[in-house]
């Protein structure tokens, strides 16, 4: 045991040293911003140099300057364009590895041996939304699936510092931050996918054929069975980007959606208000607000037909906060933020090729820390005191059921740096660290204990 601790300590002197060095190099120079934020925010557009999308350069995360609200959305959109840029015949993000791959796992559902050399997920096996155990059911009765990715900076950091070893994590300097390697900050991504029905028109969505794990009725609940998969066509409906840039180790959290996912709820709507008279991908025309975003899965009122893999009833999705803010807000920074988003969407869409599938996706919003706010272990981030940007940011397909509750209504409510406790009482909890901001990191911490337990059982 002493040897193990000593080994870990050595690692962490190295790790902490490297982080401190990074922090020294990345001194924030926000106070000396040359450009007045208001001026920069007047016309928030995508530079022509990003287009055509095939040539969109990756943002230089190490050179990020927090000069205005606009630059955060520019970073978010540039990253989206780069991640969806075609690379080796598919959008680039699909070449990224999954968090599970850090542990040599293929899927969450079990410690199955990898069947390919790729580190990408072999099948989508995530169907529960983070938070209140929600299942998003599309109008055809199929569950929406989720897939997660990390970039090489993230993966290298975890691997090089042996953070797949839970004992090492517990000895880690809790102030350790996710790094920027060269120009590339750590990234974690989540995509939401709709299963495409036969004859369903998804010509304006990015689609692909993949394997999804089947749903089963098990233990009185709807669960995933990774051993049973089916090959389906899926369409991308939502996309989260969490990325570290210079001066923002908390990550900029941005989210994108397909344009036809769900209608916006007008300010002042009552439960009886019909949100829209049009059909959307996840909304039946003339549904009342009272019937929107009802978490039937969490309530145990979904039924699953295993044979057809269909759930009932479908979820009627409505978006509470376009641009991730209350549209009635009189706060000037909120108004600026929301206008920046609208301007960026218009600018990007105008400059993308007319036949680009990505013109059908748009930035809902992004959120990050206020200038001068330091990331610290143990931040609950349960209020907006430290936050700016889209303060009520949810992706209608990823956080469908937590759009209104102030305790869950933006990314940082859950992505915070507090300690966390395992689902398995035999595992060890995760102390408060700056890295806890990433759920991929938290998941790896607990999965790594499953791996240890499984090895112990063998």
């Amino acid at each position: 045991m002493a040897t193990r601790n000593s080994f870990a300590s050595d690692l962490f002197r190295q790790a902490a040293g490297s982080v401190r060095a990074g922090a020294l190099l990345g001194v924030i120079t926000l106070g000396g911003s040359a450009l007045h934020p208001a001026l920069a925010d007047e016309n928030c557009t995508a530079p022509t140099s990003w287009f055509p999308q095939q040539h969109t350069p990756r943002p230089d995360d190490s050179a990020f300057q927090s000069t205005s609200n606009c630059v955060f959305h520019q970073w978010a959109y540039q990253m989206f364009l780069w991640l969806t840029q075609e690379w080796e015949g598919q959008p680039r993000f699909l070449s990224f590895q999954s968090p599970q791959s850090l542990l040599g796992m293929t899927q969450r559902g079990g410690l199955m041996p990898r069947m390919t050399k790729s580190d990408a997920p072999e099948s989508f096996d995530e169907f529960l939304q983070a938070g209140p155990d929600g299942i998003l059911v599309d109008q055809n009765g199929r569950a929406v699936y989720y897939s997660q990715y990390i970039n090489e900076t993230f993966a290298g950091f975890i691997t090089n510092h042996h953070l797949t070893n839970p004992a090492v994590v517990r000895l880690m300097d809790p102030d350790t931050e996710f790094p920027i390697t060269g120009t590339r900050g750590s990234l974690e991504l989540k995509a939401s996918w709709k299963v495409v029905a036969e004859a369903e028109d998804t010509s304006d969505m990015f689609t692909m054929t993949t394997n999804v794990a089947k749903l089963v009725n098990r233990g009185g609940k709807i669960a995933i069975d990774p051993s049973k998969t089916e090959t389906v066509k899926v369409a991308l409906v939502g996309f989260h980007i969490g990325g570290v840039v210079k001066g923002h180790p908390e990550m900029i959290w941005a989210t994108f959606e397909h344009k036809d996912n769900a209608p916006d709820v007008a300010a002042g709507a009552t439960p009886e208000t019909v949100v829209s008279d049009k059909d959307f991908t996840f909304y039946r025309a003339n549904t009342k607000y009272a019937d929107c975003n009802v978490n039937m899965g969490g309530a145990g009122r979904l039924t699953l037909d295993e044979a057809t893999q269909t759930l009932n009833p479908p979820t009627q999705v409505c978006r509470l906060y376009p641009q991730g803010n209350d549209t009635t807000s009189t706060d000037s920074s909120v108004k600026t933020n929301d206008q920046n988003i609208r301007d960026m969407n218009a600018s990007v869409h105008a400059q993308l090729a007319g036949d680009s599938i990505w013109r059908n996706y748009y930035e809902v919003g992004a959120i990050w820390f206020l200038d001068g706010t330091k990331l610290n272990p143990g931040l609950s981030l349960d209020t907006d005191d430290l936050l700016t940007g889209s303060l009520k940011l949810s992706n209608a397909t990823i956080e469908t059921f937590t759009q209104t509750q102030n305790t869950k209504d933006n990314c940082f409510r859950c992505h915070n740096t507090q300690q966390s406790f395992p689902a398995d009482p035999d595992q060890d909890p995760l102390p408060a660290t700056n890295l806890n901001i990433s759920h991929a990191f938290q998941n790896v911490y607990y999965w790594s204990q499953e791996t240890t337990q499984a090895q112990g059982e063998e």
Binding site: T383, F421, P425, P429, P431
Partner: protein, 697 residues
């Protein structure tokens, strides 16, 4: 010389619509009482048995009426004066025929006096909704005991009957007083003394002789008013008898009735408030329990009295409150009445060891049990399961990396509104969220800092009864509460000179001279008022509860905090351990033949009826309750009970299992609205139905 005490010091009876009853629990919720099966404590006891816990079939009678919970009192003998807590002399229970101090107990004469003074008391001034000028507005501020500080008093209930609570007009009409009843243990269950109008009051004098009181001014609401009586007349506060074979006293309370004073047009008063509804009576009650021991040599000796309180039904008896009445009472006694000077002597003592099993595990088990009455999401359930799994030998800091981040500090008001710290339920007296008592928090931190032992100090059986009863009651959020309220934090409520024969936790009883009773004059005075030295009369405990209890029960599902932290719209539970909000019905469970176990289904609201204006609403803050208080008055008896699966027999698998607590015996016919996992949030714009009633046709 030997002396005697009635135990428990305070016991709880509960209303039911059945004439039948079961016995109040004598084990603590949250404590594993049978490690072999995993059975948790807190379950009431089958009538006629020593300690057989009730099962599903025992909750209602053949007509599906919920049974009442009767309080059972015991006599314990002690041989040496108490000089510490727990006492060195553990005492022993006494029955007729036992020898004590060279004498044989010939009989035990019990006397109980029940009354209800709710209508001649002060308003709770709790936050509530009212209709003002046709608009639905929030009114009132709930201050708890602070409303009585610096000589202040809250407004009186029923001011139209005068503004002096000591005036005969008010005491005579607004107080329900059944008077005393006495019974010899030797009747052995063959006799019943009813607290009604028919039975003549009687009491045991200091020699143990039962004296009739034909001139006692018994008072029931119908004696003074024309009443609207939707559940039948309030013509009794219950009855007492003796447990056959043991000589113990059994006190059963009222039937959950509510009656309103009709106006000049014959209409009942409105019922729109959560707590203070003038003109409404209920049949809850409280009062002293005294006993005189008769010996074979002709001598007699009084026992230190107990107190019985009859209150709301216990719909989730095994769910422990994270902060129980015990925790508040113990905190008061530790900090202010010198109960455990080794722990607290002008401040908490740094070297005092906590007990893992006695001080720490109950908190963790309470947290772990909340899921059965709330809509906790899996993350919350997992966290609670995790702490409940901590063992005495575990390194606290390895199990909880930061206790300070996890648990709200009750001594730091800055943490009052932190909606991420535990316990995550609503607070009281202008504190947004619930906190552990300072004593609980101190002891938890002692454990966390490595200053703990495994086992709790050994209590005598009588002391255990005193503690267990209070452990099963709702603490922390007295707005006003379910069983007892903020008065338990007032040292004036208690006999403070506890060392010697008295012992701790005894109500500061006003001796009653029944020789002065006469028909023409109300007997009971204003009685106990918080932060004053007036002694406690019958009816003085329950008078600080809701008027009637039904409205507060209905209301207290989920709310935003008061005060509501800036930007908060999330709903939190009011009294989840005592007033289930979301439950897993037995009917929703499914049997898994492969594993031989039952699986849970989805949750439903505990209160989910369609009667009257019903419970359904799209406004989450109003869900799980009747939209009109009167509908709950008429249908409260339909609410189901949450008990451990072990006590719920099943055709397959024997029972529903120790690992789950399911709702049984609900009379609601539908599943009602879906229950999504927490968090849910307030939706603005709610308007209550305009015609809630009641109206007399």
């Amino acid at each position: 010389m030997s002396y005697f005490r009635v135990h428990p010091a305070i016991n709880i009876a509960r209303v039911g619509t059945s004439k039948e009853y079961y016995i109040a629990p004598e084990t603590a919720a949250g404590e594993v009482v049978d490690p072999g099966t995993g059975l948790f404590g807190g379950l009431p006891i089958k009538a006629g048995t020593e300690d057989t816990p009730i099962q599903e079939a025992d909750l209602r009678d053949a007509e599906q009426n919920p049974k009442r919970q009767a309080a059972r009192f015991h006599i314990y003998a002690y041989d040496s004066p108490q000089d510490q807590y727990p006492g060195k002399d553990k005492g022993r229970e006494i029955k007729i025929g036992d020898r004590v101090g060279g004498k044989t107990v010939k009989d035990i004469i019990w006397t109980v006096h029940l009354a209800n003074k709710k209508n001649n008391n002060y308003a709770i001034t709790a936050q509530e909704y009212s209709v003002v000028d046709g608009k639905y507005v929030q009114t009132g501020v709930e201050l708890g005991i602070a409303a009585y500080e610096d000589g202040a008093l809250p407004p009186l209930r029923n001011p139209e009957y005068g503004l002096d609570p000591g005036a005969e007009e008010r005491r005579g009409k607004l107080v329900t007083d059944a008077g005393p009843r006495a019974l010899a243990a030797s009747t052995n269950g063959a006799q019943v003394q009813a607290f009604d109008k028919q039975q003549t009051p009687c009491y045991a004098d200091h020699k143990g002789a039962i004296q009739d009181l034909p001139d006692y001014p018994v008072s029931f609401p119908g004696d003074h008013f024309s009443l609207f009586e939707p559940l039948g007349p309030i013509d009794t506060l219950g009855e007492m008898t003796v447990e056959a074979g043991t000589g113990r006293l059994i006190v059963a309370g009222g039937y959950g009735r509510a009656s309103g004073i009709e106006d000049s047009r014959g209409q009942p008063p409105s019922l729109n408030g959560a707590i203070d509804n003038d003109g409404w009576f209920d049949d809850t009650s409280d009062g002293p329990v005294t006993a005189v021991m008769l010996f074979d040599d002709g001598s007699c000796q009084g026992a230190v009295h107990g107190w019985v309180v009859c209150t709301d039904p216990g719909y989730a008896p095994q769910t422990r409150n994270v902060n129980s009445v015990w925790d508040d009472v113990y905190n008061t006694w530790v900090e202010r009445l010198n109960l455990v000077p080794a722990m607290y002597d002008n401040g908490y003592q740094d070297d005092y060891p906590a007990s893992f099993n006695g001080d720490v595990l109950p908190i963790f088990h309470a947290a772990f049990l909340q899921r059965w009455n709330t809509n906790l999401p899996s993350k919350g359930i997992n966290g609670h399961n995790f702490v409940a799994n901590i063992k005495p030998g575990d390194d606290p800091k390895a199990k909880i990396p930061s206790l300070k981040q996890l648990i709200r500090d009750p001594n730091n008001t800055d943490e009052d509104d932190e909606g991420v710290k535990m316990p995550l339920a609503l607070g009281d007296a202008m504190r947004s969220f619930l906190a552990l008592s300072p004593t609980q928090y101190f002891l938890l931190n002692q454990w966390y800092d490595g200053k703990s032992v495994t086992d709790a100090p050994d209590l005598g059986d009588g002391e255990k009864l005193d503690k267990v009863v209070l452990e099963n009651l709702l603490g922390g959020r007295y707005s006003p509460g379910i069983d007892l309220t903020f008065i338990v934090r007032d040292v004036n409520l208690y006999l403070q000179d506890w060392q010697g024969e008295t012992g701790p936790f005894r109500v500061n009883r006003q001796p009653l001279d029944y020789g002065n009773a006469c028909k023409t004059r109300p007997f009971l005075l204003e009685g106990y008022v918080p932060l004053r030295s007036f002694k406690v009369e019958p009816g003085d405990l329950c008078k600080y509860m809701s008027q009637p209890w039904h409205t507060d029960y209905n209301s207290c599902a989920t709310h935003t905090p008061d005060p509501n932290p800036v930007g908060n719209n999330t709903l939190y539970w009011s009294w989840p351990a005592q007033r289930p909000v979301n439950v897993y019905p037995k009917s929703g469970c499914s049997y898994d033949a492969a594993s031989g176990t039952w699986n849970l289904g989805g949750q439903v609201f505990s209160v989910r009826g369609n009667e009257g204006h019903g419970t359904a609403t799209p406004y989450p803050q109003q869900q799980g309750r009747y939209q009109c208080y009167f509908d709950f008055v008429e249908n409260w008896h339909k609410v189901g009970f949450v008990i451990q699966g072990l006590q719920v027999p099943a055709d397959q698998g024997g029972d529903y299992g120790a690992d789950k607590f399911v709702e049984v015996s609900s009379l609601y016919e539908t599943d009602g609205q879906p229950v999504p996992p927490w968090p849910t949030s307030e939706e603005p714009g709610y308007r209550p139905p305009a015609n809630c009633g009641p109206r007399k046709s």
